[in-house]
Symmetry: C3
Subunit: 202 residues, 3 copies
Amino acid sequence: MFYIIDILGTISFAISGVLIAMDKKMDVFGILIIAFVTAAGGGTLRDLLLGNTPVGWMKDITFVYLIIASTIVAIIFKSKLGYLRTSLFLFDTIGIGLYTLIGIEKGVNAGMHPLICIALGTITASFGGVIRDILCNEIPIIFRKEIYATACILGGFTYFLLSELPIPGNIVFLFSGAIVIITRLLAVKFKIALPSLYPAEK
Amino acid sequence: MFYIIDILGTISFAISGVLIAMDKKMDVFGILIIAFVTAAGGGTLRDLLLGNTPVGWMKDITFVYLIIASTIVAIIFKSKLGYLRTSLFLFDTIGIGLYTLIGIEKGVNAGMHPLICIALGTITASFGGVIRDILCNEIPIIFRKEIYATACILGGFTYFLLSELPIPGNIVFLFSGAIVIITRLLAVKFKIALPSLYPAEK
Amino acid sequence: MFYIIDILGTISFAISGVLIAMDKKMDVFGILIIAFVTAAGGGTLRDLLLGNTPVGWMKDITFVYLIIASTIVAIIFKSKLGYLRTSLFLFDTIGIGLYTLIGIEKGVNAGMHPLICIALGTITASFGGVIRDILCNEIPIIFRKEIYATACILGGFTYFLLSELPIPGNIVFLFSGAIVIITRLLAVKFKIALPSLYPAEK
């Protein structure tokens, strides 16, 4: 179940990278790197900070294949990705929920303070996009319109609040993930209510 | 004593990050990340290069709280930070002296060559600002106006020169730190004498 | 033999960094950092991802001296570097061949999957330039004009194809390196045939 979410999340992260790289008129190699960084960069930074080396994608080649395949498919069917927009957004959002929790649990397993674990969850879910934006020579979008990160942080606090209560681990996991997902869905709605902020900024 | 300098240095580094992030019209999350990176980024890069993981701020939560608190206070009292300008500059400069020496001593403890130790000291003191500038989509300021880095390097050479002489470690530490601080104060003065260079460049 | 190639490659990488940093009107410190990052950045990223810390240049001070010396010489004789253009391009290209194979062999020694090893070879040979471009506030050039990376990847596949055959290791090494070098030489020629792409893009 979580594995399927991880796969769908990776695909949607990689495709979002492809679209941004193509906007920047990169070549195939550049597009692949941006797709890879978007999908795997957050987990890589987390692993480096924790000292979990070699980093994750070096040990599970499946995700490398998955990102390469997603990139090729996205380049070929670029003009038709518009039809999948809603699905991709949903996979992406569910992926953020999962990655936040994966990052938190890696921190917990390494004996880190809850605040550090929440930071690691947020890094896992959102810093792939930060590295992508740096490579594309943009100020990271999550530093300017706060959809991802706040959702991850709220989900992280929920995780540690619920962990204090006599609730089974699975329920804590699902409920915290749901908080991330719902917060982001609401935030996207909310952004629609405040469209004046970013056009002027950009 | 050193702990107080470390705290004051961290606060002034974080506040300088807040001011730059607000210039870039970042949201609260972006401002916090930039403050964090400015204060902790140099030490984090040093720890990664040395393999000292999990990196420093993951193990001492005090500084995480300190950076978050400094960020919140700086955002709220932004308009009044101008009054503290001289104090902040002094804390910042003293902080650079301390961080250079912390970096050097981490290198010495890891058995590194003096030149590598000086590089580690310079990285500790100045690469938080480099990462901050990259995240803000600017060419790092210390690559264009050489105030920080030269001071750190001179202080580092002083450290190793004095270490050859029969002088107690504390005196070596204080004197090398003073070289960093004095060099930077003079460099800032000196920059005032050469104001034509940067306006034209920027 | 390989050591000489490594030295010539490091010098030509460092000089290319100096030239780009001077275009950006950096000061001496900035130029040195850009030269260093161009020459040592790819191997540093590879070492970090693999967990080989302290990273390579911290353990072999020779290359630190070499980069510093190349930087100073390049700054002083900048106006005369044009005469060395062809030599520098050749050293650079041979260096890429060598660094690709060094990266691959570090991956093999760490027990990595061939695809990961090829990625590590490509990172070793080309990500110094990526970090250099990020520090110079440019979209990395190898993401837009694909000369380096494709050559490294082709050389990497050649390495693993030949490793399956009963061929001595040295021959595999030399032939794969030659593929990287020849591919890049042809790619540069090929780019001359397609000059319209980049002026319009930039």
